[in-house]
Amino acid sequence: MTPIDRRRFLGSGAAAAGLASLGLPLRSALAQSGEIVIGAAPPITGVFAFAGAGLHAGLGDWVEWKNGQGGIAGRKLRYVAEDSSYKVDQSVAIFKKIVAQYKPPLFYGDSTGWAKAIAPELSQLGSVLATGPSFASDLADPAKAPYYFMPGPTYSGQIEVLLEYVSRSAAGAAKPAVAFVYSDTEFGRDPIASGKAKAAKLGIPVVLEVVTKPGAVDVSAEVIKLRRAKPDFVIFHGYVLAPIPEFMRQMRDAGMNARGMGTIYTMDKTTIDQMGAAGAGFLGVMPYRYSFDTEKTPTMALIREVGSRKPNNPWQTTFYTQGWLVGMIFEQVLGRTLGAKKELTGPNMKAALESIGKWDTGGIFGVPIALKTHSIPVGRVYLVKGSTIVPNSDWITIG
């Protein structure tokens, strides 16, 4: 082994330091000119797996399709995803790993817990714009979470859409009465205070609030309370499926005519199908157009064409549509930022996101949308009719 003298050691150290100092701008420059990485931590397994596979496939297929079209501003996209199992520690670890390894300007997470955990880091990094399938109301706040947005209305917004529908369904001067049934979780409680305020504003009497565990076994006592409160509409939130079907069945058994209403994660057809007969006549808010909507639109036709190329691809689900929509929003952000010859930094991408207004999604939403509030305050009420789900209102813009 050749002995290293002091001069050679210092010289090589200086050379290494010089290379390192050159390396940072070089890597930054590559990030601004090479392929664009989109990171993701989709919940492909775990309790949110029913949605996670569709979310992952939707965004993944959109990236593939977009690359087939030549990418964005001449740059190819690369989708780097790892299953989070819907565990916050795991999705946070995946986020940190992908950010450290690939420096993605855009990231698709998996939950409210994840979004809240990484919000301070997003602000500190100032280089990543993130989104996820959570519609927690306090995440749609450009001041507190400047680098986070959601691909739909907040849970509060969804309840507002339902209340608007209830208000518009009034036959006379008296507004129909509603009851809120929600899970004793952060998810369940999220829109209740604002929902009650909105109901008061619209003159809708809230005759009962029922709090349950998610998936509660026995709801007999709760149904007794509902029967005595006599609501016209029962709004369920904070659940995916159970115990909504049992509520609906027991309400029918008790001779109640109240209509059940749900929010986005109850309203996918795969979940509604599991309600069986209990789902008949169920109403709910869905911000997106269903894949089986009879009105033909270009984006839904494209989703069908691309999604159906692969076997067992869940392209018919609203989760897939959400993943695809996230890709389309990413395209808008990237296109607007790069089109203005700006670097893909957090502030630049945030400005691009907030500049999206009167944007036609090609049919996913039936009206032009804006992302100024970092959410999309639009939804439509659907009705479960036979074996399908049909629109039961116009597209309602709230806020």
């Binding site: 397994t45 797996a49 029913f50 709090v211 006592a221 709760e222 149904v223 007794i224 599991q274």
Partner: protein
Amino acid sequence: MSGAIDWLLLAEFSLVGLLSGGVLALIALGFVLVYKGTRVINFALGEFMMVGAYLFWTANVFLALPWWAALALTLAGVAALGALVERFVLRPLAGQPVISIVMATIGLGAVLHGLAEAVWGGANLSLPELLPRKPLLLGEILLPGQVLWSFALAVALIAAFTAYFRWSKDGVSMRAAASDPVTAYAMGIDVRRTQRLTWMFAGVTGAVAGIIVASMTSLSPSLGTVALGVLAVVILGGLDSIAGAIVAGLIVGLLESLTVAFVGGQARDLVPYLVVLVILMVRPYGLFGTRDIERL
């Protein structure tokens, strides 16, 4: 609101609560059977419920067998599972500290949960409605059909087990082996066989409870967590008392219902277990449990 309506409300919630306690008592019976027979708290009971419900779904919905054939296959399946667990998990641990056996049942629960997720996936499945739903109207009081029938089923099963332990030869052998295994062995009772039977019966009660619970809600691997909530019922009744399981099930059902009525759903879990805690401070061995006396 007039006083008369208040009394009606109280009567309605009380009746529904007592009837709902039937399913709690049935789940509690699964814990009691194993504890009575082997002195082990089976933390995997919830997973036995879940596996039973999945087997029933597979036979009845997936294979489209009639409900009675599906039920027979399910009960045979969980009984076999109970026997396998006794032979390959519990018997090798005979003579080991109780904590080791408890940990083994917790581990077994995790394995069954993981296996169920691997075989049937994590999605919610629906079981067909098995019990009649027509409610019973007593004036203004409405008793939901499935609550009424699940109570009747639980009472019938508990009565059948009580009769079996009281009058059948195997039942008497099981009681003898549970009470004093060494003397029972000396008297010619096959203690291993009685312990195997205990686990098989616990599996069967768990499966029936699992099918009832899943048909009222939905079926997913998380169904097993229901049983852990019933553990307080078992402790209140006394770990080794079938009568205790029934009474405690009814008490907790009643308390849960009255809590929903007069306090609110968020306190549903809290108030009944506060009452359980107070009762246990006075009777630490439960309402009907055997009072162990240790002399030094």
